[in-house]
């Protein structure tokens, strides 16, 4: 496999190629514009499946790496690579993009060429973010991706689209700019932008003073927390989601939000373990607030899309919580939950979009009783809801459950319990929404004659549903590929030189061991909730 090492580059820039091809087409040749985009994104998806073949399950480090000099004067490299964390996020991106293309098939009628070009550029940015291993390169993709999204919301959005677009981009930029400062400071300390190199230095002697580490952690964290979005920084999200076109919402919820949590895993934890550890209680509490708060606010929304948007706040809270207990189970659960959320919420947004295509409104009270005229669509809607509310055998359950297991196993009983209330609330808001949309009597006469899902729509929904089901049943296919990486990540945290929290270190060590407790231990613990450290 001589040319395998170019796979990531090809994968990243292939959509750009598609964009250029698009630009050659006539602007009013809508049919071929759509087809070309679809073909591009499908080929991209197929290409990305090659990653699975090239991926070495037992290897916890970066794989399929590519390193080239780029800006030698600043020691910037073109360094691409994936590991168990980013592998599936790339796949998620390439999977969702064709769906986004398909769902925009008829709903986009103005500036069609530009729309699809933006979508492809966006895909490039997203794949790039997940593959970049050089901080500079990462930041580049991270920021570049904002622009197509900004245009998607601003040009093809609805309602207060300009406000939403500006809010989205300014919020995000505000977060990321401080990350840039931190990246520069890291460069000053380490002399390189290369992530694996910095990780290597950190585990072999390079020590960041505590204060510096904390500040840098906060800078990185702010960027990611806004992107996630973590509780009080989330207000851009409902606006952006609500006003964006369907494809935009799908991508936004499906992939963009994951970049925040991905960033935490990729940077915050391995680079600043001590700061991450000390900040964990605060982050976790914010995440839990996000879970409950997002759910409660989602419950009372009158706009369907806004409701789904708030569910993202809730679900991503789970992910952040899973990341910040530093437990392999929870971490894998968090990664898994990222994928789940991408597919499930993506599916929910797709349904929203289909409803919008028919009625041009997201007001819940404009609907009701849709299960009668459009049973298939509603069935898929329900399916997506169920996935989102973590019904076992569907994907959402696995992620949430793993996270909770991990959190609980790390002695954080209260956190786990509070987080678990999210599962109750998710049932409340989703089923209530479903009831108001699909059940009861039809209240608006227009709804009686709405057409059911077309073949194209069915295809989209089936694709999403199959993945939902597949992920709900065959989760080890995914988690096996994450195991090595999460262990390596926790190992990295432990070996980082400046890391001093000794007691916690042993805890991590004990958690990674999978030995079963003896009867005696169980007996000891079964009579008190204190946990003795295992030898």
């Amino acid at each position: 496999m001589q040319n395998q090492s170019y796979l990531l580059t090809v994968l990243t820039f292939f959509p750009l190629l598609g964009t250029f091809a698009l630009l050659l087409l006539r602007g009013d040749d809508h049919v071929w514009i759509r087809r070309l985009t679809l073909i591009t994104s499908v080929i991209e998806f197929i290409l990305s499946l090659l990653l699975l073949r090239g991926f070495d399950i037992g290897n916890g480090g970066y794989q399929l790496e590519e390193v080239h000099h780029w800006i030698p004067n600043l020691h910037i490299h073109y360094h691409m690579g994936i590991d168990g964390i980013s592998l599936f996020l790339v796949l998620l991106t390439t999977f969702l993009t064709p769906l986004a293309v398909l769902c925009s098939w008829n709903s986009i009628q103005d500036h069609v060429k530009e729309f699809f070009a933006m979508l492809l550029v966006l895909e490039m940015g997203m794949v790039g973010v997940f593959c970049a291993l050089d901080l500079f390169l990462f930041f580049l993709f991270w920021e570049v991706m904002l622009i197509p999204m900004y245009f998607l919301i601003g040009i093809w959005g609805h309602g207060r689209k300009i406000y939403a677009a500006l809010k989205f981009i300014l919020y995000t930029m505000f977060g990321s700019i401080l990350m840039l400062v931190a990246i520069l400071w890291l460069y000053r300390v380490s002399g390189t932008f290369d992530l694996p190199a910095i990780q290597g230095m950190l585990s072999s002697g390079l020590s960041l003073p505590w204060g510096t580490q904390l500040l840098m952690f906060l800078a990185f964290m702010l960027a990611f927390a806004i992107k996630v979005p973590l509780f009080p920084l989330h207000t851009w999200l409902p606006d952006a989601h609500t006003e964006a076109p369907t494809a935009g919402s799908v991508i936004l919820a499906g992939v963009l939000l994951k970049m925040g949590t991905y960033g935490m895993l990729r940077f915050c934890l391995p680079l600043f373990p001590e700061a991450a550890h000390r900040a964990a209680p605060i982050v976790a509490v914010l995440a839990i607030i996000g879970i409950v708060y997002g759910a409660l606010v989602a419950m009372v929304q009158v706009d369907l899309k806004r409701l789904v948007a708030y569910t993202s706040v809730s679900h991503l809270g789970f992910v952040v919580l899973g990341i910040f207990v530093f437990n392999p189970t929870a971490m894998e659960g968090a990664i898994y939950q990222m994928l789940n959320h991408g597919v499930s919420t993506g599916a929910l947004f797709l349904v929203c979009g289909m409803l919008y295509d028919r009625r041009h409104t997201y007001e819940i009270k404009e609907y009701g009783g849709l299960a009668k005229p459009m049973p298939i669509l509603c069935a898929f809607f329900l399916f997506a809801c169920l996935s989102s509310l973590a019904l076992p055998m569907l994907n959402g359950f696995i992620g949430e459950f793993m996270i909770l297991i991990g959190v609980f196993d790390s002695q954080h009983f209260a956190w786990a319990s509070w987080a678990a209330t999210g599962a109750i609330l998710s049932a409340v808001y989703l089923l209530w929404a479903y009831q108001r949309i699909a059940l009861e009597r039809i209240t608006v006469a227009k709804n009686e004659t709405l057409p059911d899902a077309s073949a194209r729509e069915r295809f989209i929904l089936i694709a999403a549903s199959v993945v939902i089901l597949f992920m709900g049943i065959f989760s080890p296919m995914f988690t096996h590929r994450m195991d090595a990486t999460t262990n390596a990540l926790l190992e990295q945290m432990r070996t980082t030189a400046s890391y001093q929290a000794q007691s916690w270190q042993t805890q991590v060590a004990s958690r990674t061991s999978s030995t079963k407790p003896t009867t005696h231990e169980v007996a000891m613990r079964s009579v008190s909730l204190e946990r003795q450290a295992r030898p």
Partner: protein, 652 residues
């Protein structure tokens, strides 16, 4: 050994039926739907029979028989296999589920014949079977949770089967959410179990606790917590206090659904789970006591409400809650086998009751209010007679199934190792009420004068396809209890004997913990039986007096105790209470505080405020640029002075 090797087949059959019906049923004629959706449960029952045959060929050390199919979840040390297991308890439960399920499917062919969404109904029913079988056959807590949530889902779907009715949609949602609240506890219980055992499969957990010393068990610890949390799940699913509220509403669903899900199978899942977890529960006395108290109180509580209801299905629903309370009581006092036994007989007679009620409703063209019935005895004799059998069974008439099972429970409550006289009192009083409200139902429905407009309602007996299951169940309601003949009759408790491998360790542990307990004399058993019969009789007579002999008396009694009656009629205002205390405030809080104040006002206000502030600053700054050259010169001078003064100061 085919089925034992391939346990999944039993589950997969209904699933296949469901999928087939769901995907193709819309375009199929009814016969095809019937074939696939009733055929597959029948096949499932047949394979169950084969399973039983093979099971009895197993040797004792092969039980529980566990089959691992694939790893479902794995992450770090956490690992869950999709594993199924079969032991005696499973066999009983499987029998109930497949057999009653099959009968109700058959019944539904007739009952649902004229409904829209025929195929949907059957697809969902089959799906329910699948999940119920998963629940029962699961070999670990997480797979059980799959079934647990799955049946909840199907219950949701089926309750809101008539989704265009707001009440039905509401009821479905309520059922799902209320049980979810319990499942919240269940989930945390599983988490804690994993934390404690680093395993979630029954065998590992039970093996671990099996060797635990008995001392310290009365302390509050992880084990008690786990049990209480799991209990929360059971309480939700089995509609016990305080999470029972969904079950009466669930009667919005088609009657076969009520029969299958909300009487015979799903609601008993909680009891099954507690019984299944008996090694843990028996090591957590506090949790046991809680189970017993909840059970007894619920039994009585629901019975009192049952007295005042007018909807035939609602009465049955409260009756179900009450009977489930008995089962909990049984588990709580350590009489797991009795609980399971009652579960089984209850499945027969309560299933039957619901099916009969369905038949009545069918006959009445959809009417459910008992006060608008009466005198149906002659018009629908098959229904009447089978329902009478079931009523006798539930009331505890001697030799009927309920008589044996309920007796055993009450006896164990009174005289078992964990005996508790107060709970017994509650139980026996509930038995009285049971007989009372059940006969009230019979009398109101079938006796007296018709209270409906006979010109408009053409009462007719149900088709054979509906009656056949009634008859089968009626027979079982009688003979179903004969597994257990009281020992003083020289009988042998063969049911308990069969289940003994599952519960014996717990029973012995109970004995260990109560070393002073001695085997009660046979006479006591006889006396207890007598008391039970007398009590049931009193209940019967009460009903007879109030509704047959002096029909006006009922009204008088109701008037005389107006506040109590109102209280019962409104089900103790619990729904209202929940609405006012929990739901209302929560929604108000979410809408008016969290969303409007915190989100829009505070956070977004800050963000927009910053933007506004920037613009204000900008407006201020731009006024530096006043356009007047002299002002500009002033700035240059300012700069010059500042720089020079600063520099000179620096040099100093």
């Amino acid at each position: 050994m085919f089925i034992l090797e391939h346990l999944w087949i039993i589950m997969a059959l209904p699933l296949a039926g469901s999928m087939l019906t769901l995907l193709a049923g819309r375009h199929w004629p009814k016969n095809y739907v019937n074939l696939s959706s009733v055929g597959f449960p029948v096949l499932a029952f047949l394979s169950y029979c084969e399973l039983v045959r093979e099971f009895f060929a197993l040797s004792a050390n092969q039980i529980p028989w566990i089959q691992n199919y694939f790893t479902w979840m794995t992450a770090g040390p956490f690992r869950v296999d999709f594993a199924l297991q079969v032991d005696q308890l499973t066999i009983v439960m499987l029998g109930v589920v497949t057999f009653v399920g099959m009968l109700i499917h058959i019944y539904s062919i007739g009952y649902m014949a004229h409904e829209d969404g025929y195929y949907r109904f059957f697809a969902e029913m089959n799906l329910f079977m699948f999940f119920m079988l998963t629940l029962v056959m699961a070999a670990n807590l997480v797979v059980m949770f799959v079934g647990w949530e799955g049946v909840g889902l199907c219950s949701y779907l089926l309750i809101s089967f008539y989704f265009t009715k707001k009440s039905a949609a509401d009821a479905g949602k309520k059922a799902f959410i209320t049980t979810r609240i319990g499942d919240f506890g269940f989930t945390i219980g599983i988490l804690m179990a994993f934390w404690l055992f680093h395993a979630v499969d029954y065998k590992s957990m039970f093996d671990t606790v099996a060797n635990m010393p008995a001392e310290g068990m009365h302390q509050w610890g992880a084990l008690t917590s786990i049990c209480l949390l799991l209990l929360a799940g059971a309480v939700g699913k089995s509609a016990q206090l305080p999470l029972y509220v969904w079950l009466p509403d669930a009667m919005e669903g088609p009657t076969p659904v009520s029969a299958l899900i909300h009487a015979a199978t799903m609601v008993t899942a909680g009891v099954y789970m507690v019984a299944r977890m008996n090694p843990l529960f028996s090591r957590a006395p506090a949790a046991m006591l809680t189970v017993a108290i909840i059970g007894a109180v619920t039994a009585l509580y629901a019975a009192t409400i049952g007295l005042a209801q007018s909807d035939i299905k609602k009465v049955l629903a409260y009756s179900t809650i009450s009977q489930l309370g008995y089962m909990f009581l049984a588990c709580g006092v350590g009489a797991y086998a009795a609980g399971i036994f009652h579960l089984m007989t209850h499945a027969f007679f309560k299933g039957l009751l619901f099916l009969c009620a369905g038949s009545v409703i069918h006959a009445m063209g959809g009417e459910q209010d008992m006060f608008k019935m009466g005198g149906l005895r002659t018009k629908i004799p098959w229904t009447y007679s089978t329902m009478l059998v079931a009523t006798l069974a539930i009331s505890g008439a001697p030799l009927f199934a309920g008589f044996f099972s309920k007796d055993e429970i009450l006896f164990d409550t009174y005289a078992g190792p964990n005996a508790n006289a107060v709970l017994y009192g509650l139980g026996i009083f509930a038995a009285l009420l049971t007989a009372c409200y059940m006969f009230r139902l019979i009398f109101l429905t079938f006796h007296g004068k018709p209270r409906f407009d006979e010109h408009h309602v053409h009462v007719h007996e149900s088709p054979k396809v509906m009656l056949a299951p009634l008859v089968v169940l009626a027979i079982l309601s009688i003979v179903g209890g004969w597994f257990v003949l009281p020992t003083y009759w020289g009988g042998k408790d063969s049911f308990q004997g069969f289940l003994d491998p599952v519960f014996s360790a717990s029973n012995q542990l109970a004995l260990q913990m109560h070393p002073n307990w001695t085997e009660p004399p046979h006479l006591l058993e006889l006396q207890m039986t007598g008391i039970a019969v007398v009590v049931a009789l009193i209940g019967f007579l009460l009903a007879l007096y109030l509704y047959i002999i002096k029909p006006a008396a009922a009204k008088k009694v109701a008037d005389g105790t107006r506040p109590i009656y109102e209280l019962l009629w409104h089900k103790y205002y619990v729904d209202e209470l929940y609405g006012a205390v929990i739901i209302g405030p929560l929604i108000w809080l979410s809408r008016n505080v969290l969303w409007k104040v915190i989100d829009v006002g505070l956070i977004d206000g800050t963000v927009n405020g910053l933007a506004f502030f920037s613009r204000r600053v900008g407006s201020g700054v731009r006024h530096i640029q006043g356009g007047n050259t002299r002002s500009y010169a002033t700035w240059v001078v300012v700069g010059a002075v500042a720089v020079t003064v600063f520099f000179v100061w620096m040099v100093r």
